[in-house]
């Protein structure tokens, strides 16, 4: 591991100043992703600035009925919070479906959505990867693609040598739930505070796969707000994976269903495991507004949503299975949420 300096400044403002001033500086939360990357050589910072004891460790009620999660709250604490379990089951379920107890006790609200892809090539410094080493190419194309993207990729066979190619997925379960909840991210940066709608935090690879999010260097996540859901709204998270526990998602679905009558019904659907960012199925949501959520209607809406999907071939058989799997997982999640109890 490359040597680095370590700092634990006295305030969040000082932490932002220190990171902003050093191009090779990074923030440290629970460390469950960053420390792994230090060992793998994926992250090679000059300076590590510990913010775990600086940002808030509180979960507080907001005047509008929502909740504010301080960036230092652990994934365990958020999942166990009564208010989260009662009002935002989708978030508690997503957190509990991710990692393990020993990891969730360390992992933070600030760090979880900013964890990096689990693409095996990204994590292996001996292979080409545009995300880790811009311009080096993408080893995942036609490689092991089981955990890779089908949405937001340019073609069925992207050019593995092009500098913009990246078919990685975002691995966080929590982020998929936060996307469906229309959460709001509070950020403190060198230029002051700003808020970012959660759906705009992560980006598609575009022309720069090295950037996972819209955050600039030195921008610190200080809290994430959960807006109140409409009265009577129901929400759930469903994760499909290779093992019953302790595995990343192949496909996951976070859904919120609101509205008393069918005509007033609104549906929010976010997909995990299928794209470079949590994928809000906006077209499907629009088609399902005010309609009975029959298997046929949901299947049709997802068919429209997935028309741009690009199954990736791979030496492991590829990931075309994700397209029907995404539809079936949405159907099952909405069926559970609308089943009369």
């Amino acid at each position: 591991m490359k040597p680095f300096a370590f700092a634990r400044p006295g305030s969040v403002a000082e932490a932002v100043r220190q990171v902003a001033a050093e191009p090779g500086a990074v923030f440290l939360g629970g460390g469950t992703n960053l420390v792994d990357h230090l060992k793998l050589g994926v992250a090679t910072p000059e300076l590590v600035v510990d913010v775990r004891r600086l940002t808030s460790r509180e979960i507080s009620d907001l005047p509008d009925g929502g909740l504010r999660l301080g960036a230092a709250t652990t994934n365990s604490e958020v999942a166990a919070d009564r208010r989260v379990r009662e009002r935002y089951p989708v978030l508690a379920q997503a957190l509990l479906a991710g990692a393990t107890g020993q990891l969730r006790n360390l992992a933070t609200t600030g760090g979880n959505p900013l964890q990096r892809t689990r693409c095996v090539y990204f994590q292996d410094v001996t292979t080409a990867c545009n995300k880790r080493e811009p311009g080096s190419g993408c080893s995942a194309v036609n490689g092991y693609t089981r955990y890779h993207a089908v949405l937001g990729v340019p073609s069925a066979m992207p050019d593995p040598t092009a500098p913009e190619t990246c078919i990685a997925t975002h691995p966080s379960d929590m982020a998929v739930a936060l996307a469906a909840l229309d959460a709001v991210v509070h950020v403190l940066g060198p230029a002051g505070e700003r808020t970012i709608p959660f759906g705009e935090l992560h980006r598609l690879p575009g022309d720069d796969p090295s950037r996972d999010t819209v955050l600039g260097h030195g921008e610190l996540v200080t809290a994430i707000d959960l807006p109140p859901l409409p009265d009577g709204a129901r929400s759930a998270y469903r994760k499909v994976r290779d093992r019953a526990s302790y595995a990343f998602a192949l496909v996951s679905v976070a859904a919120v269903v609101a509205g008393d009558s069918t005509s007033e019904r609104t549906v929010r659907i976010a997909l995990g495991g299928v794209a470079h960012k949590p994928w809000r199925a906006a077209r499907a949501e629009e088609l399902l507004r005010g309609t009975p959520l029959t298997e046929h209607a949901v299947g049709h809406a997802m068919g429209v949503e997935l028309t741009t999907a690009q199954p990736q071939p791979g030496i492991d058989g590829g990931n075309g299975f994700k397209i029907p799997l995404a539809t079936r997982t949405v159907v099952a999640t909405l069926r559970d949420l609308t089943r009369e109890t």
Binding site: M1, P3, F4, A5, F6, R8, L28, G31, T32, V35, D36, L38, K39, L40, V48, D50, R52, S76, A79, A80, R82, R85, E86, P89, A92, Q93, L96, A97, A99, T100, G101, Q102, L103, N105, L106, A244, S245, Y246
Partner: protein
């Protein structure tokens, strides 16, 4: 680069200088001579390095020692009190919950954490009702202990050992 830190390990206050790159696991094993937490994978995947960090189970291989300056750590080595084994340790013996024993200190620390989490009413992915108080069913224990791999596959005896320590007849 070096940093001076203090840790309380199994009740004993320690002060030492560590390289900023040192994990808690390496600090415990190589600097403080406490070899009960094991290095299985060193990447957060196996649970062999599990300790109780400020009371909560955590992976010591993904924790930088400098980031936990001042922490209170309990390892499997420090669980026994006055010559009496911790109930989880006793249950692992009673239930024959290990073979080679390599994963066992991590399993035991994890199980101590699991029982405290269940006592506090924390739900898990296996909880049938997210808001009800959880019970120590087979599925609950298996899910909660899923971060502790056992290469000898002693799982069939680990689950009843955790249930026994939690006061469940199994």
């Amino acid at each position: 680069m070096d940093a001076e830190i203090s840790l309380t390990v199994d009740g004993v206050a320690r002060r030492l200088t560590v390289d900023t790159r040192t994990t808690l696991l390496d600090t415990l094993r190589e600097r403080l001579g406490n070899c009960s937490p094991k290095k299985g994978c060193d990447h957060g995947q196996c649970g062999a390095c599990t300790v109780l960090l400020d009371g909560e189970r955590a992976l010591s291989c993904l924790a930088l020692a400098v980031a936990h300056d001042g922490a209170e750590i309990t390892t499997a080595d420090g669980l026994a009190r006055g010559g009496e084994l911790h109930p989880v340790q006793q249950a692992f013996l009673d239930r024959d919950a290990f073979q080679c024993g390599y994963c066992t200190p991590g399993q035991i620390c994890s199980a101590v954490g699991v029982l405290a989490e269940v006592d506090r009413g924390w739900p898990s992915h296996a909880s049938p009702d997210l808001v009800a108080d959880p019970e120590l069913s087979h599925d609950e224990v298996a899910e909660r202990m899923s971060g502790n791999l056992c290469r000898c596959a002693a799982y069939v005896n680990i689950v009843p050992a955790v249930q026994q320590a939690g006061g469940v007849q199994a």
